[in-house]
């Protein structure tokens, strides 16, 4: 299935700076999405070395931050949110 990941903060330097399209096995959840995102970033940017930042980030919809057991369906759109620092 295909999932769109919207990019924010320091992730904006990757891909087109807005979003990435990922292909996942249907049985995947957010842990699988996290792994697929790291793989995609390394494929697009061989110098990518921010695995830790991906681990420190959360996935969210426009309504809420998601738990790792949230279920994704084909065509889902989520955002990856690195640690925040407003103000």
């Amino acid at each position: 299935m295909r999932v769109t990941v919207r990019l924010f903060g320091s992730f904006r330097k990757y891909g087109d700076g807005s979003r990435l399209e990922l292909d996942l096995p249907t049985a995947g959840g957010l842990p699988a999405l996290r792994g697929a995102l790291v793989s995609k970033l390394k494929a697009l940017h061989p110098e990518f070395a921010e695995d830790q930042l991906v681990g420190e980030s959360v996935f969210a919809t426009e309504a809420a931050v998601l738990d790792d057991w949230a279920v994704l369906s084909d065509g889902a759109s989520v955002a990856i949110l690195p640690p925040v620092c407003g103000g």
């Binding site: 904006r12 969210a60 809420a64 738990d67 949230a70 065509g75 955002a79 925040v84 407003g86």
Partner: protein, 167 residues
Amino acid sequence: MDEFAHVRVAPEPLDAVEVLGRLSDATHGAQLLFVGVVRNDNLGRKVVAVSYDAFGPLAERTLRDICLEARTRWGEALRLEVAHRTGRLLVGEASVIVAVGSGHRSEAYEASRYVLEQLKVRVPIWKKEHYESGDSEWLRGHELGAHGRVGIGGGPLDANGTGQGEP
């Protein structure tokens, strides 16, 4: 939006006078205004500008949650105006406003501090500093913890990304 609080995360410049005007309430004896501005240095580096990025819908939703928490803690009479800018701001420009109206000064001070401190650790906003040297850097921030996370709840997430539990 609830009448007791207004929140906004947007690129338009912040107007403190306008914000205070919206707080007007004859039952209030206190109006407190906090304005955060872009500073010209950070950890010894000369800063010339800061770019703010935000996940707007979730940022405003989280701010509304924080305002509700403040009203629960400091009373139904509390009124709040919270606004955060996005985009590139120069040194001296206002990045965030927290304005509180209340019956007495004590709850205004406490609620203002609460809203700002919660904003810094819970609201999906990020800042990139631009330095005099010409380079720039996204600042390290606070990991979003379990605040408001949702699990499976209803069905799978849909293509609109509206999430579980949406009406």
